[in-house]
């Protein structure tokens, strides 16, 4: 099977994720979209791995999965913490890091 399809699919998923990150205000959804982007990357890595016939890409994909899991843990943790403090769950109002 031609690799193009896989890459196009990966690009589409990535674009969907990116659009979500840019447009949604809920941090939960932003996190979800981030996952989408990461998995789009995973998809591309796996496809290329298949195409080249070696295992490097798969290892990368595994690492990305681990990173994604960590990120979700921290991200959800922050969101839960904010919820408990009754802070607004809205990325546009979370600008404490303003210079």
């Amino acid at each position: 099977m031609d690799i193009t399809w896989f890459v196009v699919l990966s690009a589409l998923i990535f674009a969907t994720g990116a659009a979500g990150v840019l447009t949604r205000r809920s941090p939960l959804v932003v996190l979800l979209c981030l996952e989408l982007m990461l998995n789009a990357g995973n998809l591309a890595l796996l496809s290329f791995s298949r195409m080249l016939g070696n295992q490097d890409g798969q290892i990368f994909a595994l690492i990305v999965l681990v990173v994604a899991a960590c990120e979700v843990v921290i991200g959800l943790g922050i969101i839960v913490a904010m919820y408990r403090r009754r802070l607004p769950i809205d990325v546009d109002q979370m600008n404490e890091l303003r210079g």
């Binding site: 990150v21 840019l22 447009t23 546009d92 979370m94 600008n95 890091l97 303003r98 210079g99």
Partner: protein, 669 residues
């Protein structure tokens, strides 16, 4: 032991004394510190005698020895050893300095008894003697500078000895700073010589000077003038003299030792030591001669109007050193050093007498408040009068021979020097007058209450006060108060004054024209290369000079007697008659005011200007503020981008990514 071995001993005794006194300052009970200090100086004197005998054992042409302990500094052509030079000149100076110092130490043992800084005083005093001997024995300019600066520091410490008095500490600073100006002069002079001769030790410099410089060579003259700056600062010659009268804030033994007998004559010693250079640069020698003459005149006139007993003696010291500087500058080395020696005797004696009187007055130093001490203090009266007679150049006293020998030499040089000699004779009349003005005002006339009390056997007791400001004394650090002993009641003071009185009378026998020339003969090996060695005034002209000098001295004394004894009102009348002159003189020719206006105030003004304008506006404002400001502006721009908007960051990220992808697409096509 070799002569240089004795030379190191001469230095070792007072240094050991200083260390013993300073490190064990809590241990020494009672007067022990005084006796330890005196013993150290006596050791030094004995070692000086050892040097003398060693030298006398040697042939006349091998009486100059250099002893080197170690290499002090040696780099890139600059070489200075820690070495001493023993020759007749340095031995002579060592004998005078250690001898007079010993007597003054003994005097101080009693005089300073009631002072709380007793041990400190002797530690300083011993350190001073060490420094002075180092200065004398130095064999190169670096060691000379060391001794030169050490005596300045010792002088500072001793002037500020009663350091709770701000007049004393102020005088100390003034003396120290003017001395440092002299040090700088010496450094510059030493460089100019080093530049020409490549050497820093005397022997090397003198040997090479003839080859390196022509007669009156510009650089050599400049070097000698810079050396003279050093000499003038140390010897209180115009215009660097203003510290000496102020230095009288120190305890009286200090005035006797440092500011009369020893340190202030260092300039004279320096000129004598450097005579091969000054003879190559007669122009510089003439500068010395003229300044010496100007000083001796100015100081003598100020002494006429001064009312502070110690300051009168201080101005007379300045004036006498003027004679010495004149003497060594006109190549009358023997005569100049002869006067240095006799002056050390009689001036130390005068100060000791003055100290006794001031103690009796409970610290008051004003002549206006003194009078009639003749009966109360017969011993002081007798010795003080001997000192005054010697100072005045009364016939057959020591000062008579030494001072007039200088003037006879000066006359003999002829030409413009005659003017200098005439000025010298004029001032010698004034000297006799002011010397006896002191004697008559202190010891004659109606006895003041203090004198009466003393006659009845007890000392005046009053609250100690600073004689300069009238401020109540802070007695914590000690003070020259009414508990101080007078010579009549303290045997160490008498024991110190009696030998000096004797010497003030008889020391002249070392150089009676046509009869004895012991001193001159002894010093000859040092000055044998002098062009003027053989040019002596004829015996008859010397005696003529002596007669003239003696006559002037008698005249001066007679006038003083007339003014102060026969018609006591005359002085006041004269003062009113010539009030402008009197104001001018009692303001000391306005030298202090001049320095204040030329140096001190502009400097202070510049300091204020620097602080308020340069510092805050330019250095900290424009430069630091500007730099820091520029960095701040840059960072605030960078901060403005950090909005904290998560989606804005994401947008930037994605558009950057998009841009990159686009770029590679375009490139790859």
């Amino acid at each position: 032991m070799s002569a240089t071995g004795y030379g190191w001993l001469v230095l070792a005794f007072p240094l050991a004394g200083t260390l013993a006194l300073a490190l064990g300052w809590r241990l020494w009970p009672g007067r022990a510190a005084g006796w330890i200090g005196s013993a150290a100086i006596l050791g030094s004197f004995a070692a000086s005698l050892g040097m003398l005998f060693e030298l006398l054992d040697r042939a006349e042409d091998s009486r100059s020895l250099v002893g080197t302990a170690y290499t002090y500094a040696d780099t890139a052509g600059f070489r200075a050893d820690m070495s001493i030079l023993v020759d007749p000149l340095s031995v002579f100076m060592c004998l005078v300095v250690s001898g007079v110092s010993f007597l003054i130490h003994v005097y101080s043992v009693a005089y300073m008894t009631s002072d709380r800084g007793y041990v400190r005083f002797f530690a300083y005093l011993n350190f001073f003697v060490f420094s002075m001997l180092l200065l004398i024995l130095a064999a190169n300019f670096v060691v000379l500078l060391m001794g030169w600066a050490f005596v300045g520091a010792a002088s500072y410490l001793l002037i500020s000895f009663w350091y709770r008095r701000d007049t004393a500490t102020g005088a100390g600073i003034k003396a120290f700073v003017i001395n440092v100006i002299g040090d700088v002069g010496l450094v510059v002079g030493a460089f100019l010589l080093f530049d020409g001769t490549g050497a820093l030790d005397y022997a090397g410099v003198f040997e090479e000077a003839g080859n390196a410089f022509g007669r009156n060579d510009g650089q050599l003259v400049a070097a000698c003038v810079m050396l003279l700056v050093g000499a003038f600062a140390k010897s209180a010659q115009v215009p660097l003299h203003t510290w000496l009268p102020d230095a009288m804030e120190g305890p009286t033994p200090v005035s006797a030792l440092i500011h009369a007998a020893t340190m202030v004559t260092a300039g004279v010693y320096l000129i004598a030591r450097m005579h091969p250079l000054f003879e190559l640069a007669p122009a510089a020698a003439d500068v010395g001669a003229v300044v010496g003459t100007v000083t001796l005149l100015i100081a003598a006139t100020i002494a006429l109007a001064a009312t502070d007993l110690k300051r009168v003696i201080a101005y007379s010291t300045m004036s006498q050193i003027g004679y010495m500087v004149l003497g060594v500058s006109v190549a009358a080395y023997g005569a100049g050093l002869f006067h240095l020696m006799t002056h050390a005797f009689f001036k130390a004696l005068l100060f000791m007498g003055a100290g006794s009187v001031i103690a009796a007055m409970g610290g008051v130093q004003s002549l206006d408040k003194m009078g009639g001490f003749r009966k109360a203090m017969p011993f002081t009266f007798a010795t003080f009068t001997i000192g005054a007679l010697a100072l005045a150049g009364f016939p057959l006293m020591s000062g008579f021979f030494s001072k007039d020998e200088i003037l006879a030499f000066t006359l003999n040089r002829g030409g413009g020097y005659v003017v200098l000699a005439v000025a010298g004779y004029l001032a010698s009349g004034l000297t006799a007058f002011y010397a006896f003005r002191m004697v008559f005002r202190v010891f004659f006339g109606e006895p003041v209450p203090e004198a009466r009390e003393l006659e009845r056997g007890h000392l005046h007791h009053g609250d100690p006060a600073n004689p300069a400001t009238g401020e109540k004394e802070d007695t914590e650090v000690g003070f020259p108060g009414p508990e101080h002993h007078v010579a009549e009641q303290a045997w160490p003071m008498k024991a110190a004054m009696a030998p000096l009185a004797l010497l003030a009378i008889v020391a002249g026998t070392l150089g009676i024209p046509g009869v004895t020339d012991t001193l001159e003969h002894f010093l000859e090996p040092t000055f044998e290369d002098s062009r003027f060695l053989e040019t002596h005034p004829s015996e008859s002209s010397e005696w003529l000079g002596l007669a003239l000098g003696g006559g002037l001295a008698l005249l001066g004394i007679a006038v003083a007697a007339l003014v102060y004894l026969r018609r006591p009102g005359t002085a006041l009348q004269l003062r009113e008659r010539f009030s402008t002159v009197h104001t001018f003189l009692s303001n000391k020719w306005y030298f202090d005011e001049l320095f204040d206006a030329v140096f001190v105030r502009p400097m202070a003004a510049f300091g204020r200007f620097g602080r308020s304008i340069i510092e805050s506006v330019f250095v900290q404002g424009v430069l630091v503020g500007g730099t820091v400001g520029a960095v701040r502006v840059g960072t605030s721009l960078a901060r403005a981008i950090q909005t904290g908007e998560l989606r804005a960051y994401a947008f930037l990220l994605v558009s950057g990514l998009g841009g990159l992808v686009l770029y590679f697409l375009i490139v790859s096509v």
